[in-house]
């Protein structure tokens, strides 16, 4: 009797989770239906699985170019963030002086600033750098990567800082006596030990940069530079009435997220938990 109760509870829990994700099911099934079928019953399974709306949506959203842009911007930003913020955090922890404290506190304090407070002056400043110094930072993918690094520096340095503090210094000292440079000590000895926190830093930054809309919408003006959230936004501006096309577009944008989640599910849940508690 107790066993039966447990099976029922098992099933109920899965049903609850399925119901919770039902909007994704609705988007998926309706991406195959024609207009008539969609209005008859949005919850039913489609009668045929033709990919025509996907092909249309891909073309109208410029999906391939958007995914290349998103991947390029996210991957390069995250690599630079990991390299620079781990190096900075290590120096700040291991050099115990006033300057280190001031730098670290500045990083922490700026975490309080919401993006809306910075967006207008940032854009003014970036376009003046572009116009006066001829450094193409405004309206380029590399410029956006530069800004991503700046905006994600605080949290990343903070997470690395906390982790490095718990690593005993003796290992580094032994290596230094053996004549290794600071650079060698960091990359050969320290960085490999930072693996768990590097995973957390990477995951938090990937999620936030991949989904970011406001900053790219302000910096990337050319249509050829659009990322996935940007092309979704402009796609909806033009085609919001053609729902079957819109559903195919939305399904396309969710697929990369599902792949990422399937590949790194355990790390993501762990990383999110750790990132939040600290």
């Amino acid at each position: 009797m107790k066993k039966v109760g447990k099976v029922i509870k098992d099933v109920l829990l899965v049903l609850l989770a399925l119901a919770f994700l039902s909007p994704i099911y609705i988007i998926f099934v309706n991406s195959f239906k024609d207009r008539q079928e969609l209005y008859d019953n949005a919850l039913s399974l489609p009668t045929n699985f033709s990919l025509q709306y996907y092909l249309q949506a891909m073309e109208k959203m410029n999906f391939l170019s958007a995914i290349v842009n998103s991947l390029y911007i996210t991957i390069v930003s995250v690599i630079i963030i990991v390299v620079l913020s781990s190096m900075t955090a290590w120096m700040l922890v291991r050099t115990n002086n006033k300057l280190s404290t001031v730098i670290f506190m500045t990083f922490i304090a700026t975490m309080l600033i919401p993006f809306q407070t910075l967006m207008m002056p940032l854009m003014q400043f970036m376009s003046s750098i572009t116009n006066n110094l001829n450094i193409p930072i405004y309206n380029t993918r590399e410029g956006l990567i530069f800004m991503n690094v700046g905006f994600h520096a605080s949290l990343s340095v903070f997470l690395y800082h906390g982790f490095i503090k718990s690593i005993p210094i003796t290992l580094e000292e032994a290596a230094t006596i053996d004549g290794a440079t600071k650079f060698g000590v960091f990359w050969r000895i320290i960085f490999p030990m930072l693996k768990p926190i590097t995973a957390t830093v990477m995951i938090l930054n990937v999620i936030s940069i991949w989904n970011d809309f406001l900053l790219p919408s302000l910096t990337l003006i050319d249509t050829s530079l659009r990322t996935i959230p940007l092309s979704t936004f402009y796609f909806f501006g033009e085609f919001s009435i053609q729902w079957n096309l819109a559903m195919a577009g939305l399904t396309l944008t969710i697929i990369p997220v599902i792949i990422f989640y399937a590949l790194a599910q355990k790390h993501i849940i762990k990383g999110i938990g750790e990132g939040a508690v600290k």
Binding site: D10, I103, L112, M120, M147, F183, N211, T232, Y261, Q265
Partner: protein
């Protein structure tokens, strides 16, 4: 020699990130404070007129701004409650040692990974079509209809979707808290004959306070700063009935072209967010000492 070398390494390791950080965050922040005291339409050729504190006093008479501030507070209070209730319920369910808990946890967390902008579009259709469909099916037209076209219900729609996005995230934090509760305490209370409700209210909940504090303030600050879901789900409408703080600032600056006035709003926004976050840090630290 050795000390000079040390300084060089220090600069080499920290300067690249610091230069980027100062260019992207520190300098714009300072320029932003400066702009808040001027009247300017954002066109470089046009003059910036110094108006002193006028932008800030004007804020208090801007009805659209005050209304959006009130809506943001209402939205924040409602979402903080719903997200934490749903998130904690999920956490309790998936830690109840069922065989399907792992898969359920994985699924419930999923919406958090999909960006706010895309979530909003997904739910636009759900409200438009599925809610209407349920309304016809059940005859409960007053509950199931397109919430997004009603000035009052569209705010609830926003709370609903934001809860859907955040509940799985908050669930993860509560799970960590629940796993930290020692098993022997729970077992002892079972032997003493405590009912499930007594166990929850007298043991689980008090021991969950640190996780609760973190979750409350995480939801508080993210609800207060909501923008993406707001933009794609309602766009601030109908009739500005869901224009939140962040969107009001964006519209003032880039929509109406009031750069100086909009920036003054942005500074006020910063002060409020900072106050919320600092209170959070203070309370969390205080509790850690007590524990």
């Amino acid at each position: 020699m050795a000390s000079k070398n040390k300084k060089l390494w220090y600069a080499l390791f920290t300067a690249p990130l610091l230069i980027i950080f100062i260019t992207v965050v520190i300098i714009p922040f300072i320029i932003g404070i400066y702009y808040a005291f001027f009247q300017w339409d954002g066109i470089a050729a046009n003059p910036k007129v110094f108006v002193g504190m006028e932008n800030f006093t004007k804020l208090l008479q801007d009805e659209r701004f005050l209304n959006s501030a009130w809506l943001t507070i209402l939205f924040t209070v409602l979402s903080v409650i719903t997200i934490n209730v749903v998130g904690l319920s999920f956490a309790l369910l998936v830690t109840s040692k069922l065989r399907t808990s792992n898969i359920a946890r994985t699924m419930l967390f999923m919406p958090y990974l999909i960006g706010g902008l895309i979530l909003g579009y997904i739910w636009q259709f759900v409200f438009l079509d599925v809610f209407e469909f349920f309304g016809e099916l059940t005859g409960l037209n007053t509950v199931f209809f397109n919430w997004l076209i009603d000035p009052q219900f569209s705010l609830y729609g926003l709370v609903f979707v934001f809860t859907w996005q955040m509940a799985g995230y908050i669930m993860i934090i509560y799970i960590a808290g629940l796993q930290g509760i020692p098993n022997d305490v729970v077992e002892a209370s079972k032997i003493d004959g405590a009912t499930p409700w007594q166990r929850f209210s007298r043991i689980t909940l008090p021991l969950l306070m640190p996780a609760l504090t973190i979750s409350l303030f995480l939801t508080l600050s993210s609800a207060f700063k909501i923008y993406d879901v707001n933009l794609s789900l309602t766009g601030g409408g109908p009739a500005n009935s869901t224009e939140m703080f962040a969107m009001n600032i964006y519209n003032e600056i880039f929509g109406s072209g009031n750069y100086g006035f909009g920036q003054a709003k942005a500074i006020v926004f910063f002060l409020i967010v900072a106050a919320i976050t600092l209170t959070q840090v203070y309370l969390t630290k205080k509790r850690e000492v007590e524990m």
